[in-house]
Symmetry: C2
Subunit: 490 residues, 2 copies
């Protein structure tokens, strides 16, 4: 076939890379660290975007657009923020090229050096809060609930398609509030929106939690997150929602006249998910034959492949298919009829398996005679013969079933790969033998966290929103408030 | 009101700037040349995007995403292209900052100098054709019909919100074809898509044409364009569609195996519209009281303002409004009920006039008694009393009427401001006295074109797709194939 993938068991990492490439999702560009998101991959991302955008608007947010460039000095205004982001970034120093006097194409024009360098945004808190300063005078201007869909750049040295690239696409919400509680509520609300999206649309169960101080967003008071488990037992952070306190309001001097006649700094939040979710989607559900897409995010939900030997047969099939297509589309189901005569049905079957299309219909001359067709499910690989009427009737239900089944499968996998351990040796052993999520006690100190990370490569993915029973740290024996979630992570 | 605008007659340019600012459409950021598109402005742009995206998909295109950065050497590969674009651009030279040893915040880390500078894309032909090289092997891979929504940067020295900014948002279509004819057909098809969009959705009549060689896109064989007339008599280029010939295929060595067994370079097109269209929309229709939005692109189509003295009155109005709102929304009409008690009805009337909401409904206690409400049209300022039933019934038709009326008005204005002149003195006089579009004969030489531009600031906006009667150049008396369109332009 030329399309065969390495198996996950053989080489999970290679399997992922090959799948991304062969399913036409994305590829490395010749620009270091930057990816090209190919049409099929992008159409999945568009589905994600559309759903998320709807959820943001349903919770009262509007979109806006802020500059790509951030003056260097802005990054320095929030002390933690500059430590976290200013280091690895793309720096614009000049605004003109000129012909090389030596004839070697074009060169940077030294006369066009910027007075202050511009940073290509790694995240937009600074440039946005600099605008908010002018937008917020009074409590009547609050809350300010804004989201931006944008590209951002972080100069990553080791890149992987979707998971870690120098440039990536994301959305970043930036809100401003009159009270601390309102800002915390917003932070939690958006964590819940992300949870609903990832669980209900991406069919991927997640654990909600709070980051430890060392894993916190640079400039936040608290970083809430959702963590998902991939098939190789590694965790993936699927979204973060930050309570910023008054940090950016203080850094950019954003004050408002309160209802009571006072003057106070505004409370802020920011929250984001990125094309990284594409990586999560691919790694969580796919198998050795290719992608497995949850129907809600599948650009093509049903593909129809005709089995024919000549034009006459094809035109008879076409006639029937047109009716079926119309009836399915009337139910908002996206259908593709692949009647190309340049490829054999077997090739097409493999192709649409690779691309994760949830349902595949095959229909040939015999089927026409019998009034039947064959439906194959991508998730279970089951094939079944239906009459035309049954098919039309049952396809919506089948798609729902697939959506649920994919979620169930991921949830079962997670349950099987989640451990609770008490001792540090046991911790190391479980991590080596099995990986996955590990709930264990930790004494709350950064030193212990760092020691565990250095010795095992596992990090604290999050602390639960509410701690369970207290206990003793598996490393130091010191008191622990409750178990926290460990894993090796992407 | 604090919201009053200068009149167009007084100072058109100031009127535009103030309107953009006061209607919350956009503002200058503190980053030189970059704008912030504010929520209300962005919601109009989103409506434009959604409609254009639909039209692109209906004509067989899919979206993808290519890198923000272009290696400097790519720009040099197409000779004309580098002349047109490499000069004024943002150049990334470093990928890291470090703490200033002198304690002055962060500074560029000289150790992190890029081997080859990266250019922030001013347009993406080069980086996209570099990918197409690997995507196209055979005629079976063609046509390749891809669009990208993206931000681009051109280092403009004089900027104006929406009309000319260093960073702007746009879409760029990039297609590859097996034959010259197919590429030309695509170029013209997309010109027609733009024409349909601008005329039917933006309610703005345009003239289709072809650019002269000196106004052509750098790297194209032919640039097709649509030109619209603004209320100050200046032209605005609303969209361009380029037939690229085999230029980029040759520059990036993109060949394909033909059906006949040969090997040939691919034929290309590119086409784009940008946030500049926002400028056109604002300038074409708005009046001294603010924006006038065509209903198809209005984020709020109907605003309902209650007239009330106390909570009891408001709650009675609210009840009625809920019914009206539901009935209108069921007809896909977007409705806002502004029941804030922090602002008086008069203030709200002015606010929604400023923001261009097509229909405004006022409803007070007397109306409830009489079963009536008042509808005011933004375009004509007419007010009329309707019964509730009539209102529900007639609002969809009123919106259609406004859409048509705005177009008609713009078309009448254009007709009144289009002249046909034969002599160069007459040309100068018409240009000074009246401005607008001027059809005149030109000998086809770049020298004459340049002379006219230098002496009058008017440029050839386009040559018509089909020339009319031949004649004599108004400047040189040399033969002319037919009249071409002149105007001063944005």
């Amino acid at each position: 076939m030329g399309k065969a993938l390495p198996s996950r068991a053989e080489d999970y990492s290679l399997w992922y890379n090959e799948l991304v490439r062969k399913a036409d999702l994305a590829e490395h560009s010749s620009v270091r660290g930057c990816m090209v998101i190919k049409p099929y991959g992008f159409s999945i991302w568009e589905k994600m975007q559309a759903q998320l955008d709807k959820m943001f608007k349903d919770t009262g947010h509007t979109n806006a657009y802020f500059p790509l460039f951030i003056p260097k000095s802005y990054l320095s205004k929030e002390a933690d923020h500059v430590e976290g982001f200013a280091k690895e970034c793309a720096v614009v120093t000049h605004y003109r090229l000129k012909n090389d006097p030596g004839g070697g194409g074009v060169v940077v024009d030294d006369d066009a050096k910027l007075e202050e360098e511009l940073i290509v945004r790694p995240t937009s808190e600074t440039v946005i809060w600099n605008s908010y300063k002018n937008w917020i005078q009074s409590y009547r201007d609050l809350p300010l609930l804004i989201n931006q869909w944008a590209n951002v750049v972080r100069w990553e040295m080791r890149t992987r398609l979707f998971l870690r690239t120098a440039e990536f696409l994301w959305q970043e919400g930036h809100t401003a509030h009159a009270t601390k509680q309102e800002a915390i509520d917003e932070t939690k609300q958006m964590l819940q929106v992300y949870t609903d999206f990832v669980q209900n649309y991406m069919a991927l169960p997640v654990i909600q939690g709070v980051k430890t101080e060392s894993e916190r967003f640079a400039g936040a008071e608290d970083t809430y997150c959702i963590e998902a488990l991939m098939q190789d037992g590694k965790a993936l952070q699927a979204g973060t929602s930050h309570f910023l306190g008054q940090n950016f309001a203080k850094a950019f001097d954003v004050k408002f006249a309160t209802k009571e006649g006072g003057l106070d700094h505004v409370w802020g939040t920011s929250w984001g998910v990125s094309t990284r979710l594409m990586g999560a989607l691919i790694m969580a559900h796919s198998d050795d034959d290719g992608l497995v897409l949850p129907p809600f995010l599948a650009p093509i939900q049903v593909v129809i492949v005709p089995i024919f030997k000549n034009d006459e047969q094809l035109s008879q099939i076409q006639e029937k298919v047109d009716t079926i297509k119309t009836q399915l589309q009337a139910q908002n189901i996206s259908v593709k009829f692949d009647h190309r005569d340049t490829h054999k049905p077997g090739w097409k079957f493999a192709e649409y398996e690779l691309k994760g299309v949830p349902l595949r219909i095959a229909i040939g001359p015999k089927d026409l005679e019998n009034g039947t067709l064959e439906i194959a499910r991508r998730d279970t690989k089951e094939k079944k013969i239906y009459s035309f009427e049954e098919a039309i009737d049952q396809i919506p239900g089948l798609l729902d079933e697939i959506q649920k089944n994919i979620y169930q499968k991921a949830e079962t996998f997670r349950a099987e790969n989640t451990s609770e351990v008490d001792g540090y040796e046991e911790f190391k052993q479980v991590l080596d033998d099995k990986g996955g999520f590990i709930w264990a006690h930790w004494d709350g100190s950064a030193a212990t966290e760092e020691k565990i990370k250095e010795e095992t490569k596992a990090t604290i993915r999050c602390m639960p929103l509410e701690f369970g029973e207290p206990g003793q740290c598996m490393v130091t024996g010191n008191p622990s408030k409750g178990r926290v979630l460990f894993a090796k992570a992407y």
